[in-house]
């Protein structure tokens, strides 16, 4: 297969941006899964960090091949989700949000203090073995899967939980099982995103998985909306592209970025892409 020169140039110039769009799309889906059951859990950056660090260690220390590392990068985040899920998912609303942020900060301190994980310097020299097509294949698969789930009985139950937990429970939805399931799925997606992120950039550091990334990921899903799995992905793309487009006015770039979030929340409460899944 030959690629035309102009396309090649384009891909080469914007490689980082294109990869970031894909990874951020996966993170937006990870946020979508928990928001879809009405849980304000902000642990996605922490799960992403676990995926990034564990996969980097598998590659650098154990020399495992990347096709094996990628699926294994879910393991640690999922185990972590199962362990913290019990006590954490009893919390709701702002308490859940703050507990998950707190867990993220504890993990950040762990990365900072363990020599094997590089401390404040992070981990360097991770081979750039993740290809752009892998990122987009995963993103497409995850979106399609979530779409199918969303249209099914399970999706109906999730939407019911989001709208009214008590009513959903009365209708026989096992809230606990759905909450834990959503958390685990969210952890797996974020773990994959972390692994891809580590293997496209050759460097990971503890500050990439703290409080700020956590709220950035939340803003993807909120800007896009959570009516369909595609909406948060598009939200992530808008928020990732925006700073690039505003590069010429770099001084006030962040100001505009912040104002866009404000305006979107105030005037578009259902997000930029408010369409909902139809069920037969």
């Amino acid at each position: 297969m030959t690629v035309p020169d102009w396309l090649n140039d384009f891909l080469w110039t914007y490689q980082n941006l294109i990869n970031a769009l894909g990874v951020n799309g996966l993170l937006a889906l990870s946020m979508y899964v928990v928001l879809a059951v009405g849980q304000l859990s902000l642990g996605q950056a922490a799960f992403m960090g676990l995926g990034a660090y564990s996969s980097a260690l598998m590659t650098v220390q154990l020399h495992l091949p990347f096709p094996l590392v990628l699926p294994l990068s879910c393991v640690i985040p999922v185990l972590f989700a199962l362990i913290i899920g019990g006590p954490t998912l009893r919390l709701t609303g702002v308490y859940l949000a703050i507990a998950t942020i707190g867990l993220g900060e504890v993990l950040r301190a762990v990365y900072l203090n363990i020599d094997l994980l590089g401390g404040p310097m992070g981990l360097n020299g991770i081979p750039e073995s993740a290809e752009t097509w892998m990122i987009y294949a995963l993103l497409a698969t995850a979106t399609a899967l979530l779409w199918v789930v969303g249209k099914s009985r399970v999706g109906r139950a999730m939407e019911a939980m989001r709208e009214d937990e008590t009513a959903a429970q009365v209708m026989g939805v096992n809230l606990w099982r759905y909450r834990l399931g959503a958390l685990v799925a969210s952890a797996a997606l974020a773990g994959l995103a972390g692994c891809l992120n580590a293997h496209v950039s050759d460097f990971i550091g503890p500050n990439e998985y703290g409080f700020e990334p956590a709220v950035t990921i939340l803003s993807y899903a909120l800007l896009g909306g959570i009516g369909t799995p595609l909406a948060p992905v598009l939200g992530a793309w808008v928020l990732t592209l925006l700073p690039e487009l505003l590069r010429g006015i770099s001084d006030i770039r962040l100001v505009i970025n912040g104002l866009i979030i404000v305006v979107a929340v105030l005037f578009l409460p259902a997000g930029l892409f408010p369409w909902r899944l139809r069920r037969g």
Binding site: L40, Y95, A99, I101, G102, E105, N113, L254, V255, V265
Partner: protein, 290 residues
């Protein structure tokens, strides 16, 4: 050695408690995670810096008023609207996130990212020593101010009609409206008080550290979460105790275990408290049940 560590712990704890006072009031009454709180803290320090020539005793109250007004404006422009439409708490979290990104970036673009300092004339330079234990005048000022402000805030909330209105708004906003309390006005007053407390805290803490930069409030914000959750949301006395506790635990961890763990220990406490006692260590919110 130990006595100095304990004194340092108490003084650091007073800093945390001072920062958290307005935060817990805002959170406890208005029920929003207001991420712009750190901005009022920073704004207070910058206003005082601009007014430094007039001396601390004029700059401090003006800084408190200025940041209080900023809090009222942000609340009126962004949060009142969401409250009226009954938007989910997530929306208010997001809107304050956007606002604080914009405000901090604007402040950095305007004032520059460099660290600024108060003129030497403004800082009480005296230090006191008792045996090996040293305390600066600025640290004592923070400690005294924290105690005084906690006392004043508690009396306001428990003893005055305004305090009654605030408690009513915290416990049942709808019913409060039916009892002749103007919820919008009371919310504005709460915003003003919290913003003012944040601004005053910013000035005092900047006096002690003598470093003012646009993101100083952001750096305190996560510690603020720990203090207000461990103390119990809206629990002013709880915030004082939790602040002192956090300062003490951090100082002792840094002194006797490992200084790198200082940042993590607070969050570990936060997570453990949320898992075992989600209403805070003391299990009651004073604003609701004073």
């Amino acid at each position: 050695m130990l006595s100095q560590q304990l004194v340092n712990g108490v003084l650091l704890g007073a800093v945390y408690a001072l920062f958290a006072l307005g935060f817990t009031l805002m959170f406890g009454v208005l029920k929003v995670i207001n991420l712009t709180y750190g901005f009022y803290f920073t704004a207070g320090a910058y206003i005082a810096l601009a007014l430094a020539d007039y001396g601390l005793w004029l700059a401090l109250p003006l800084a408190a008023v200025g940041s209080g007004v900023a809090a009222v404006v942000v609340d009126a422009l962004l949060l009142t609207r969401l409250r009226r439409t009954g938007a989910p708490e997530l929306a208010s979290l997001m809107v304050t996130l956007g606002a604080v990104l914009a405000l901090n970036a604007a402040m950095t673009a305007w004032l520059g990212p460099d660290i600024r300092r108060f003129p030497p004339s403004m800082i009480p330079a005296t230090a006191f020593a008792l045996g090996d234990t040293r305390v600066t005048a600025a640290q004592i000022l923070i400690f005294v101010a924290t105690i005084v402000l906690v006392g004043a805030l508690l009396s306001l909330i428990r003893l005055t009609r305004l305090g009654l209105a605030i408690r009513a708004l915290a416990s049942r906003p709808d019913a409060a409206g039916l009892m002749g309390i103007n919820p919008a006005r009371t919310a504005a007053i709460v915003s003003f008080l919290s913003g003012g407390l944040a601004g005053a805290g910013g000035v005092l803490i900047a006096l002690s550290s003598n470093a003012i930069q646009p993101y100083m409030g952001e750096e305190m914000l996560l510690r603020g979460f720990v203090v207000i959750i461990v103390g119990g949301l809206g629990d002013i006395r709880g915030a004082l105790i939790a602040g002192l506790l956090l300062g003490m635990v951090e100082t002792l961890t840094a002194g006797y275990i490992a200084s790198e763990l200082k940042d993590a220990v607070g969050f570990l406490i936060l997570v453990l408290v949320l898992w075992t006692r989600p209403l805070g260590l003391f299990g009651r919110a004073i604003i609701r049940r004073a």
